[in-house]
Every structure is written in C-alpha cells, then in structure tokens.
C-alpha cells in the first residue's frame, strides 16, 4: 500500500437516526483491510464522537478518512458555529448540549476527551462563526 486509501462521507446534520453511519462504514472498511481490532476500535470511537459532534453541534459536515501504511487519518470539517473556548470544551463533562439532545443519551461532555484519548494525534482548528476542522490520527505501526 504505497498510496493512501481515502474515504469521503457527508454527515447529515438533520438526521439523528443515521448519526454514526459514516463511522460504522469506516469500521467495516478497516476490517476488510485487516487492521488490528484494537486500532479499528480506536478509530471507531474517535471518529464516532467527532461525527456526533458535527450532527448535534454543527448541523452536519464532511468526514475524510485516509489510510496509509503508518496511520489512519480522520479529518472532520463543518461550517457550524465554531468552538469559542477549546480548552473548556476539552474538559470532561463540559457540554452545551440541550436537554432534548441529552435525553437521547448524548451530551455527556465526554466526546472531545474520548477523541483525544483514543487518537495518537489530534488538532482542532475552529473559528467562531465559520466552523471547525478536527484532524485525528491513529498510528498503526
């Protein structure tokens, strides 16, 4: 595998019922590629949390996943409201989710911390009023 294998997904911001779909697809693809289960799990958790955040906080977005010899890279891009205080958002338990969203089981404020914990590299670029791009990498070697 010399060239990166890439996958592109549009994440629907209106449809809570299909939230997580892109992550489930990625998991399937990584399984077919024969990646170690623990690595697949890391990617699945990190990507799912990022995907859900785009749905519940940003009205949707796009996910680009590339697989190289050395890592799986997940880039999540949205045109949502942006994150005002990233340090605060990264804290366990911090959430701006509404009661309605919490009643679905989301909004525990554990998403960004999970993303950090399960990825080997994570970078957040966010501009208030413009959107957020999050890049995560899980090393596979």
């Amino acid at each position: 595998m010399s060239e990166a294998l890439t996958f592109h997904y549009v994440v629907d911001g209106q449809d809570f019922t299909s939230a997580g779909h892109a992550s489930v697809m990625v998991k399937k693809n990584l399984r077919q590629l024969g990646l170690p289960p623990e690595k697949i799990r890391q990617v699945s958790i990190a990507m799912y949390e990022g995907e859900i955040n785009m749905v519940i906080h940003a009205g949707g977005g796009v996910a680009d996943v590339s697989v190289t010899e050395d890592y799986v890279e997940i880039v999540l891009t949205d045109k949502g409201p942006g994150i005002k205080d990233i340090e605060q958002a990264m804290q366990e338990g911090f959430s701006t989710a509404t009661d309605n969203i919490r009643s679905l089981g989301f909004g525990a404020g554990m998403g960004l911390p999970n993303m950090k914990r399960y990825s080997d590299f994570m970078e957040i670029n966010s501009v208030v009023g413009e959107g957020t791009t999050i890049t995560m990498r899980v090393n596979i070697n």
């Binding site: 809570f16 019922t17 939230a19 997580g20 779909h21 992550s23 489930v24 998991k27 289960p37 799990r41 699945s44 958790i45 799912y48 949390e49 859900i52 679905l104 089981g105 989301f106 525990a108 404020g109 554990m110 998403g111 911390p113 999970n114 914990r117 399960y118």
Partner: protein, 108 residues
Amino acid sequence: MTVRDLLTSEKFSAISLPDESREIKNVYIGDLLSWVMGRAKADDAWITIMSNVNILAVASLADTSCIILAEGVTVDETIKATAMDKEINILTTNMNIYETAIYLNGLL
C-alpha cells in the same frame, strides 16, 4: 457464555438475534452513549434502558456482544429491523439493571 445461553432462561427474551453465538465475556452498564463508547469493552453485554436508534451505532462500534434492555424496555419495529440488518443482538428483560447485573454475574 453466549447470547444464546442467556435466552435459555425465561428472564430474557430476544428482540433481535442475528448472531446468537456471540460470546459474552463481561458486562458494561450505562445510558450515556459517550461513556459506553469510551469504556465498554469488545464482547461486553451492555445493559441499558436507552432505547433510541443511536444505541445501534454505539453497540456496533464498541463491538459489544449484545444490548440488554432492562426494566422491560423495548424498541420499535424500525429499530428492530435496523438491528437485524446491522447484526446487533438485542434482548429485553423485566429485571431492573441491578438484578440483571447480579444475574449475569452468576453466569459469567
């Protein structure tokens, strides 16, 4: 123990059972999806009272062996169909979460 073994007791009934030979190695309990996602282990039986469609993606990605809905909670037909399609085992029990956990502990 497999998911099938649980069903030999009249305490559990199947809502969707696409993969009844799945091994249950341990148990995780929780309703907040990010906690389950981050803390449940592969092959755990996941006990919850959450019954919306989002539990399916979580079970699939966390690779739990089955979802056990406690307190007699059940799901609607669309979720049932999606669970079959995504190969997610779902059981229901009238026991509460504590009783379910104790019961499973006796079998593990």
